[in-house]
């Protein structure tokens, strides 16, 4: 790998060290190095690096700048609630805190540039300075001039500085409509399967041999690679399932080399884990508990998503049901559903042919309060006085986000709501009050 990283400016073993810290990213690192060139030289004013999450963008930058001891400032844009923080961090890491304190209370861009200029007139850059911006996509949300200014910062501050933007989003989405100085765009491609294998095998369990672990990783990738290529997620899964994988070893049933047995042992668990990939529902601890639980009765994996059941007061349940009906049934059908003897409305003419897309695809429609109440009264079996607590329940359902208020909060006259629960949820609810909701849903006639 030493062949990849070569540069006259830095001595060998340093580059060596860098290369070791950047497995499977030598190519990109080399590219960057050659672009940066010799520290004394100018580098391109702004470089834009994009690539998927966990493709090593910030890691590579960090390692390079750290190991080669180049002057740099790393800023995460998500952290910059105000541009002030951004300016401060940059000045701080270049010129020390006294420079940062020179900024006025709420500094403008020009203040920043001014301070920067006068500072670097005192201490001009012998080496190229680098400003690394993580999550650069957030720069678009700040005031319009910031991004263009950063892109040509070198020319504005007349200093040997390079701005490096890191993002998951392609550059085309950044370009302001009147255009701006175009940065040098680089791509960090996702890791291939082999690379993933190599990287994941590095964090091996101390008490097991390397090849054992890598065989484990091999199995893991075999299952998950098709659905998940996110390094971070894979690492998480590896950590989660490893203990299970080693179990037969601990019991002394099989020996490390017998991969096939191990595979047969672990495979069902991995398959089950597949169903909840990306959900991060369970911490490792819970996971183990579940595994034990499964030994006894093979219940499906109960992660966060499984606990969807919600205890509700009796009338709240009916209110929710009514809301669901109100938002998934067309208003004109209420008559048929809720009138005891809706004489002549024949099912044939009541079902319109023209509407073929069901409301469960289009989503809930807003409804007015009184429609909700009308349905509520006809749905609930006993007759209830319209007490204050009924209404308060509606609002508390809104705060629980089971309903959403569509109309604006200050509109008191005829508030509109939407039902925000899923089909399964409402079915579970109506089962508890044994109310057959499907009979009342227009889509399922």
């Amino acid at each position: 790998m030493t062949t990849v990283l070569q540069h006259p400016a830095y001595e060998e073993e340093r580059l060596q060290r860098v290369a070791e810290q950047l497995p499977c990213r030598e190519l990109q690192a080399g590219m960057l190095l050659s672009l940066m060139g010799e520290p004394q030289h100018y580098s391109y004013p702004s470089i834009f690096i994009y690539g998927h999450r966990a493709s090593g963008k910030s890691h590579v930058m960090h390692v390079l700048l750290k190991e080669l001891e180049l002057p740099h400032a790393t800023v995460s844009c998500v952290e910059c609630i105000s541009v002030t923080l951004l300016f401060e961090q940059v000045l701080l890491s270049f010129f020390g805190c006294d420079a940062a304190s020179l900024l006025p209370r709420s500094p403008s861009l020009s203040d920043f540039v001014r301070v920067y200029r006068q500072q670097c007139s005192h201490s001009p850059a012998k080496e190229t300075r680098y400003i690394v911006m993580e999550k650069a996509e957030l720069l678009r949300d700040t005031d319009a001039n910031l991004l263009p200014a950063l892109l040509r910062l070198q020319e504005l501050v007349e200093d040997n500085v390079t701005v490096i933007l890191l993002s998951e989003i392609v550059w085309d989405k950044f370009r302001p409509n009147t255009g701006c100085f175009e940065p040098l765009v680089l791509n960090f491609p996702d890791y291939s399967k082999g690379e993933l294998q190599q990287i994941l095998s590095q964090d091996r369990h101390p008490s097991y041999s390397a090849e054992f672990y890598s065989s484990y990783i091999n199995i893991l990738l075999g299952v998950f690679y098709s659905v998940c290529r996110d390094l971070r997620e894979l690492r998480h899964l590896a950590a989660l399932n490893f203990s299970k994988f080693c179990e037969p070893l601990a019991e002394g049933k099989v020996k490390e080399t017998d991969t096939h047995k191990l595979w047969r042992n672990i495979e069902p668990h991995l398959k089950r884990a597949m169903q909840t990939v990306y959900l991060r529902e369970v911490s490792s601890l819970q996971w183990e508990q579940m595994q034990q639980m499964e030994e006894k009765e093979t219940g499906a994996l109960r992660g966060l998503s499984a606990h969807t059941h919600v205890e509700l007061p009796y009338y709240s349940k009916f209110l929710l049901i009514a809301a669901y009906l109100a938002s998934y049934n067309p208003a004109r059908t209420d008559k048929r559903f809720f009138l005891k003897h809706h004489g002549k409305i024949r099912k044939t003419k009541f079902l319109k042919k023209n509407e073929k897309t069901s409301n469960h695809l289009l989503g809930p429609k807003p409804f007015a309060l009184d429609r909700l109440l009308a349905i509520f009264y006809s749905v609930v079996d006993s007759r209830i006085a319209p007490t204050a607590s009924i209404f308060s329940q509606i609002s508390s359902l809104v705060t629980l986000q089971l309903l959403t208020q569509v109309s604006h909060d200050d509109q008191l006259d005829a508030p509109k709501y939407k039902c925000a629960v899923s089909m399964d949820f409402i079915c579970a609810i109506s089962r508890t009050v044994n109310f057959d909701i499907v009979k009342y849903l227009y889509d399922f006639l």
Partner: protein, 721 residues
């Protein structure tokens, strides 16, 4: 009040000073309550009782929360310790922020208490650095940051010695949001931890868990996760994850609905930064059950609720809000009402005090006692001369009252143990003939004689089919319940029960020989399969055939014993579980006006308004407004008339017609003769009054102006007459 001024003008008369003295709750209590003479005594009693209830419930709350809180604390400890941990699995997850998802149920009003105790416990036992935030105070990210930083550093200001620098640091960042970054927090954290490790005073509390205290975690509690703006939350978590190596952060999410909301709020890129652990708090129904056990079904509160009031409170809980807090509030209301409205509630207290208070009773109160229905019934039962002496001789009456009070207390003393015995016996039966929860049984007992309703009968039948081992276990449980009670009757009962048990047991040893196994199984087996299939039809069928079998063959000694035992239980019930109404002077302790409670706790504003409009007499108590068959007299206020008229209209109301009708009615009220030509003429005054009435109706939300037709208004209510 008059002035000597000749000039016209308005004069302000300040009320004199003595009028403006602020009233203490005591005064509020005493004014306008029945029998003011002993009001302060009652107030005192009421106060004490309420304080007792309050403290008890709080203790209860704490020990209910204890379990989940403890597990949470363990979790936090674990997390804070894993920092130094060298376990591989934990190392792999070192970059994740430990997060506890705390599912609390939908009874939001109760949550505050839980969080309060939680943060206190945390601060005592795990870490001094706890900040809890609410959604409504963090609209934007910077607000959230600000809150968190302030809270954390303020707690430090409270703990640490050097106030000033920390103080100026905090208010520095209050003024200038520049410092509002986690960097500040990290620096601050480092200084604090260094201090604590060098062992300054101020963290003495952290002594028990010294080893963690090297790195006490920084806990952020999000009280109501659902209400947070997802964007803000995501950004905050992203920022925090950048500092996780320098700052041992951990989160606690308070969730009302279900854990899956976390997934709804956080995309994978964010949730992958968290290591979520789930904690389920106990459901509020269980909570209520315990509260009722400790509060209602106990002998140490003289104050009781009768069945109706109980019904109201429980139904409010079950139907409207799962809030235990509100339930207790309801009890408080009932308590207050009772002592406020019932003069004889002086006797509602501990036995001895009651005895004393009886002696203090004034003549009027004795009269009141005589008026009590239960007491009347009592008198009727007595012999004539006894009656006479009761009615005329106050001292004698007092003596009797003392006795009666004693009886009442005895009754209570016996009631609850027996109740729970019955519950233990019946609660395991199929289909729960007497209810699953003890509160249901309690209600039935309060209403009327339990042994008269058929559920009880069927329950008894079922009990008669119990196999021996089951019966023995149940009876033993009963014995355990009766054990601690020290009342004469119960003691006797207990003795008897022990004997029965002994018999059963030794039967067990001896009997095996003579009782033919066939009988055994014929008796036990149906019960067995009855456990399994428990639909009503099956039940009756099996019951029938049981009877068959019983009639067919002579009883085995076990059956004899069993029947004996059950009869014993039965007459225990008959003796002790009679409803309170049957007991004399029960009005003293039992609060009965459910209507009041309902009116206060479950208000129906709209019906009130409608009642007021349709029958003004109900509120105004004015004789000539009295009408029959719900029609409004034309002397009623304008708005009532307008309302009445509008009820007769359809969805759209023509204002002109309405005005016409109105003016006719009103002029009829003025009593000008119907056939004079200007009868029902609209003059300006009527017009003005009409307009006013209409606008009032609009304000009350019965009508609203509409675009559909000119000079029409739309009705907002259905139906009418």
């Amino acid at each position: 009040m008059s002035t000597s001024s000749v000039s016209k003008g308005c004069f302000v008369f300040k009320p004199s000073a003595k009028k403006r003295k602020t009233l203490s709750p005591k005064d509020y209590f005493s004014d306008g309550c029945e029998g003011a003479e002993n009001s302060d005594v009652r107030f005192k009693l009421c106060q004490d009782l309420w304080d007792k209830i309050k403290t008890d419930t709080e203790v209860l709350q704490d020990e209910l929360n204890r379990k989940i809180l403890d597990s949470l604390l363990d979790f936090t400890r674990k997390c804070s310790s894993t920092r130094q941990h060298s376990d591989w699995a934990l190392q792999m997850r070192a970059s994740e922020i430990p997060t506890a998802a705390l599912v609390l149920g939908v009874n939001v009003p109760d949550h505050d208490m839980t969080f309060q105790s939680l943060s206190e416990l945390l601060q005592q036992s795990v870490t001094p650095h706890v900040a809890s935030v609410q959604a409504k105070e963090c609209g934007a990210l910077k607000h959230l940051m600000k809150r968190v930083l302030e809270r954390l550093m303020d707690t430090v200001v409270a703990v640490d010695d050097d106030e000033e620098e920390a103080a100026e640091q905090t208010n520095g960042q209050v003024h200038k949001s520049v410092h509002c970054s986690l960097n500040t927090l990290c620096d601050w954290y480092n200084t604090v931890t260094k201090k604590s490790n060098s062992g300054t005073p101020g963290k003495k509390r952290s002594s028990p868990v010294k080893d963690e205290q090297q790195q006490p975690p920084v806990v952020v509690i999000f009280k109501d996760l659902e209400a947070f703006n997802p964007r803000v939350l995501q950004d905050f978590i992203l920022i925090c994850s950048r500092y996780i190596d320098r700052l041992p952060l951990m989160f606690i999410f308070g969730i009302a609905t279900s854990p899956s909301t976390i997934q709804h709020m956080l995309p994978h890129s964010v949730s992958s930064l968290l290591c979520i652990e789930l904690f389920q708090s106990l459901s509020c129904t269980q909570h209520l059950a315990t509260v009722i056990d400790k509060l209602i079904l106990t002998n140490d509160f003289p104050f009781k609720l009768n069945s109706k009031v109980m019904q109201v409170l429980i139904s409010i809980f079950l139907y409207h809000d799962f809030s235990v807090r509100n339930f207790i509030k309801g009890v408080q209301l009932a308590l207050l009402e009772h002592f406020h409205s019932q003069p004889l509630s002086v006797l509602c207290c501990k036995k001895k005090d009651a005895q004393l208070n009886v002696m203090q009773l004034s003549h009027r109160n004795l009269e009141r006692i005589k008026q009590l229905p239960s007491f009347k019934r009592y008198i009727e039962k007595q012999e004539p001369q006894e009656q006479a002496s009761l009615l005329n001789d106050d001292t004698h009456l007092k003596e009797v009252c003392k006795k009666l009070i004693k009886d009442l207390h005895k009754y209570h003393k016996n009631y609850y143990p027996i109740l729970s015995c019955l519950h233990t016996l019946t609660s395991s039966l199929p289909r729960y003939p007497l209810g699953k929860q003890i509160r249901e049984l309690h209600l039935t007992c309060l209403e009327k004689n339990v042994w008269e309703n058929e559920d009880y009968q069927s329950a008894m039948k079922l009990l008669k089919m119990l196999a021996k081992d089951e019966l023995i276990t149940l009876l033993q449980r009963c014995a355990e319940i009766l054990q601690p009670v020290k009342s004469k009757k119960i003691k006797e009962a207990l003795v008897h029960l022990e004997e029965l048990l002994a018999k059963l047991k030794q039967l067990d040893t001896a009997a095996a020989a003579e009782t033919s196994p066939t009988v055994e199984e014929t008796i036990t087996s149906p019960m067995k399969n009855l456990q399994k299939k428990t639909d009503l039809f099956q039940l009756q069928k099996t019951l029938l055939e049981m009877n068959e079998s019983r009639r067919s063959k002579k009883l085995s000694p076990f059956e004899v014993l069993r029947n004996e035992a059950l009869d014993f239980i039965d007459d225990l019930v008959k003796k002790h579980l009679s409803p309170p109404e049957s007991h004399t002077l029960n009005e003293v302790c039992y609060y009965s006006s459910s209507a009041t409670v309902r009116r206060h706790l479950n208000a129906t504003p709209r019906t009130c308004i409608q009642a007021a409009l349709s029958s003004p007499y109900y509120y105004l108590q004015n004789e000539n407004l009295k009408t029959e068959d719900g029609s409004v007299s034309n002397a009623a206020p304008d708005i009532c008339i307008a309302y009445k008229l509008h009820l007769e209209c359809g969805r759209l109301i023509n204002l002109c017609d309405w005005l016409e009708a109105y003016s006719t009615v009103v002029s009829a009220a003025e009593g000008n003769d119907p056939d004079s030509d200007n009868f029902g003429k609209v003059d300006d005054v009527k017009h003005a009054r009409f307009i006013r009435a209409v606008s009032e109706l609009e304000f009350l939300g019965f009508i609203k102006s509409t675009k559909q037709k000119t000079d029409h208004v739309a009705r907002l209510t259905w139906g009418g007459c």
